[in-house]
Amino acid sequence: MKKIINCVQDVVIEMCNGLVKACPEQIEFIEKYKIIKKKVLNKNKVTLISGGGSGHEPAHAGYVGTGMLDAAVCGDMFASPSIIQVYNAILQTRSEKGTLLIIKNYSGDCMNFDSAADMAQEEGVKIEKVYVNDDVAVQDSLHTVGRRGVAGTIFVHKIAGVAAENGMDLLQVKAIAERVIDNVRSIGFALTSCTVPANGTPTFDLPDNEIEFGVGIHGEPGIARETIKTADEIAEKMVALIVKDLPFKPEDEAALMINGLGGTPIQELYILNNSVHNSVKKRGIQIYKTYVGNYMTSIDMAGASVTLLKLDNELKELLDSPVEIPASKFI
């Protein structure tokens, strides 16, 4: 395993300390509970908290700042943070207007965030929760755990975050978050697996001429293994699935995110964006805004996901608002 690393057990703590040292004026790290929180909280707005396993950087700590999250709770690599971690995050960012938890739909995250919310409610904190489940790879069913929350979560963080910053109350912010969740769809593919530091080797092997289609962000295999395709072919396949699922219709306006999973060069993300734009436009869908980069990664997995969010005027306005977060600190 070749990584920039000191000790495997210190990865999460050192990463958080490194992030804070890049934005010391904005954020601080509560090491005991592995919480990254805004240094200066606005107690007159709804508090937004998210988090989950580490390994998805910049998600979620990179989104703590004005207009997005107030705190991000960092679990171990790919493992949900514990009830106690989330509970302390809620207490330490308590505001006059209550707290919205943005939870990605995974068993661990749901159990830990739900139980933490129950505990905090007993302490008098007003809490609402939303569950992000934008990945279309898995069919939703009553009998399973439902769809995964992937890159679409970033749109929830931003749009709900700006809504909270603008002074909306807890139920209004929750409604906006749910509207984003109802209108966002994603799907991903992988060219390689990823290497979790504690394991030292890739979670699965993938021959040179094959890809995993319908992958999540935790290094597990996808829904199918297929022979490698061209950028145009994979773009067409992904866009077809996303558009059919919502469904998106001609004349719909959408925000598009091409999200690198961590191990893919930016040039390839732009090539994918080029192909995806063609596939989306030929379906009559208007692309209002495009985002290309690493937003919700899977450590060093090579691959990408495509996300489309159907917009209305209110969502457009919120999406257009500027935010101040570590993840946007390029220059």
Partner: protein, 212 residues
């Protein structure tokens, strides 16, 4: 031997911790076919803290001891393991209360409570391809041992075997819960990591217990 006293329960949990820590890499490996490869690390984290803070865990009665362990597991085990294993220990502790010894019937009831705790929080059932597919058969085996009036070491041995058999059967199941459920039919052919871990742990505990 017809009862387990507080000392025996303490030893059993200690054995569990040792087995989990020794098998961290193996459990991770099991979890990488259909999961994210962290089953061993997640469990191991909580049980390492139990060993570290062993001196501070109350040992006056079985309920207090299991509750102390349950809280450490909930606080420290990663991911879904924390709530699930934590719920098992906490519900078991609610059954045991201030008892300082358990006969086989009581052990069987306590394990049923542990299973109930897991089902309540995880919302899975038999056949969903989770650790319950090892635990539920092992509890059924304990109930049968009660009827047969087996002594405790024999009951433990049979219960461990039932857990192992249950885990093996998960190869034929399509996962309905947890990360493996995202793979659908591709999860066939691989045993569930959590169920296999339960089989390994119960077998190891049963063997160590008989040695001592």
């Amino acid at each position: 031997m017809n009862i387990l006293n507080i000392g025996d329960i303490i030893n059993i949990v200690r054995y569990m911790a040792e087995i989990i820590i020794d098998n961290e890499k193996y459990f991770n490996q099991l979890d990488s076919f259909t999961g994210d490869g962290d089953c061993g690390s997640s469990l191991g984290k909580g049980f390492k803290v139990i060993i570290e803070k062993w001196g501070g865990i109350p040992k006056t009665n079985i309920g207090a001891f299991l509750r102390g362990c349950g809280m450490m597991i909930t606080e420290n085990c990663g991911g879904a393991s924390g709530p699930i294993w934590g719920a098992a220990f906490m519900n078991a502790s609610r059954y045991a209360k201030e008892k300082t010894e358990l006969n086989l019937n009581e052990i069987s009831e306590m394990m049923k409570c542990a299973v109930d705790g897991i089902q309540k929080i995880g919302k899975a059932g038999l056949g969903d391809k989770t650790l319950l597919d090892a635990l539920i058969p092992s509890v059924k085996s304990l109930e049968q041992s009660c009827e047969l009036k087996d002594d405790i070491p024999l009951a433990m041995k049979k219960s461990a075997a039932a857990a192992v058999a249950g885990a093996e059967k998960t190869k034929e199941l399509v996962a309905m819960k947890g990360r493996a459920s995202y793979l659908g039919e591709r999860s066939l052919g691989h045993p569930d990591a959590g169920a296999t871990a339960v089989g390994v742990i119960f077998t190891g505990v049963s063997k160590k217990f008989m040695k001592d």
